[in-house]
Assembly symmetry: none
Homo-oligomer: 202 residues x 4
DNA sequence: GATGAATGAGCTTTCATTCAT
DNA sequence: AATGAATGAAAGCTCATTCAT
């Protein structure tokens, strides 16, 4: 194996390490209250070197949201590719979301508390929804398929999207604030049922 | 009229001016990207004097969310006090929310982008939901009444609350990002219907 | 005397102190090798406070060149306002320049080594020659008067200006580098004579 | 041809490439605002390798000024070696200077804006005028010859040198700032005449 | 010779907060 | 109540230089 390949590999790995570490810190503390020295320090690398990988704090945050979107998008694609009924698809998507919130809470937190809340950070480079494109696209496919099958009411996509994502985001938020009396997963049935009832053909 | 009264009045008025100005700036620019000198400057008062009214930036933000909560709570109380059917009550609450988002967008934006997203700012002094108590209480009353009347399914309150608030928040967010193809108000019927279908007794 | 007036006075004085100190450091060490902490430290004020007076390092440098231009312009205006022959006016201007280079060398050094050499610092705010307007205008008046009197050859102004200023600048530079074998002032006669011979009507 | 010779050749060529590229960047952007990675990047070589050729940024700048001095010196030597009258020699030197400013502006710009203005960069290694020795020597020869021929006034060399170089430098500066109303070359006659009048035996 | 990741000191700038007046 | 100059810690970012490969 050539040493060039090794170097490229190691660089990619370090890049991932930065993304993961920054994701955790941003999600826990917020964008403005997390500092570059803090991120670099946690990894054990120098500040200057971190800037060899990401040219600014904003660029780093943008890369993170792109990766989250890709991850969630790929998980939902599996559901879309299946032959399940809409009712079950909804359950699966809710499950994926809550499972992610449980196992990798930083992803959902980053989405809600950094991406959605600090739009100025994403305005240049992530205009509109281009950085969460993969994720939004899959939700759109889910919805279109359901309408095509005659299972879902044919309404404005955004009304359905807002319900789905707003609802799930709201629950994860309440969970994060330790306001929910029960484990997040225990709500899967109720919530899926509510969403299904809201969206189904009457 | 005693001059003491006058002074108290003037002080209260200036206090309100600070709250309103800070609300607008925080909502538009975010908590960390708005500075105290900026707020003071916009009012035409000195920074030092602003600190005579609010002892810190955080305390100011907390006061703001309390006032927003009180305002929305009082608006929803009117709905709760009425004899309308649940279906119509939902429509009214959705309308109030969207109307506020239209006429005083800074309130909803502050709620979504400052209060919900920068929890560290509110942890001391607004633990849990005590600073939005008035608002949450009214939503709770709405829900309990509906269940008592046999119109709403008896489920975990937070599941219903997350649906309601997450959905509305999501729509206002999409509207703020100029992603919605139509005016926010045009969604009132669809959304109210979706919420009603999600929450009603099957 | 009102305390407001006192405060304004003190602020103006501190402002001047900053300008003078920064002028000296910039002139001696150059723009990029002089730091804001260094300037503030030498005055005994905090870095943050310095920024209350000048919003950036560039703005500070621009203010400095404006003051230098005003000073030299006013000195030359006295010559222009006199009834001397051109030959003597040249001598006086050369004397003023060299006297300034002797007594306040930082002014001329700043002019040559900061203003003329770091154009990028002055491009926004000092485009063209607007920050040295007062000085250039007086040289222009000197020249126009001489031509009007029939004492000076009528040639392109810039050719005359380049000669005058390039020559003086060159001599001060050589002096600063300790290359000149004699005191700067000892060259006044030779140089004035050379300039006169170059510019006079043949 | 031995491979050793080839290697030496290639090394010399790369060295020249570095000098030429750095010259352009330093001249356009200044010494402190040009970075080593930028120079290396423009050539397509690595920073590390560039340091194999020049052990520091300062050393590189010093090498550049030496090459410029050698080039201008050799051009002026041709004039000195000729049998022309002083009047014509002056014209030729002015022409060479302006022609260089037109065709290879980076040389003159580097001279004026990097070498003359950032003395700290050249203090160790280029003390006094040793790095521009070749150029200054030729000007000195021109002047001494003129005096010996009885064509030029016998005055302090530096007074004549300052006139000559200050004047030309000033004009090129004004040209670079786009302040001159006409092309630089169109001033050759006026300027040569002015210089001749200033220096000639009265 | 060649690479480019890595270092780390240091820069400009910001801002919540204080305090003398 | 009111002013705004002053503080100072800390942030984001840069870059000459080094060194393992």
């Amino acid at each position: 194996m050539s040493s060039t390949t090794e170097r490229v590999d190691r660089k990619a790995k370090k890049r991932e390490k930065i993304v993961r570490t920054a994701l955790k810190l941003f999600a826990k503390q917020g964008f403005y209250t997390t500092t570059i020295p803090e991120i670099a320090g946690k990894i054990g690398m120098s500040v200057g070197n971190l800037y060899n990988y990401f040219s600014s704090k904003e660029i780093l945050a943008q890369e993170i949201i792109r990766e989250i979107s890709a991850y969630l998008g790929s998980r939902i694609r599996e559901v879309n590719d299946s032959d399940l009924h809409v009712r079950e698809k909804i359950r699966r998507i809710v499950s994926i979301y809550f499972e992610t919130a449980r196992n990798e809470p930083e992803m959902i937190d980053f989405f809600l508390r950094v991406y959605l809340s600090n739009r100025e950070v994403f305005h240049e480079g992530c205009e509109g929804m281009i950085c969460v494109n993969e994720f939004v696209t899959e939700i759109m496919i889910f919805f279109d398929d359901g309408v095509a099958n005659g299972e879902l009411k044919n309404q404005d996509f955004f009304s359905a999207f807002g319900l789905f994502m707003g609802y799930l985001g709201g629950m994860v938020f309440l969970n994060g604030e330790r306001i929910l009396p029960r484990r997040l997963e225990s709500y899967i049935d109720d919530i899926s049922e509510n969403i299904y009832n809201a969206l189904k053909v009457p």
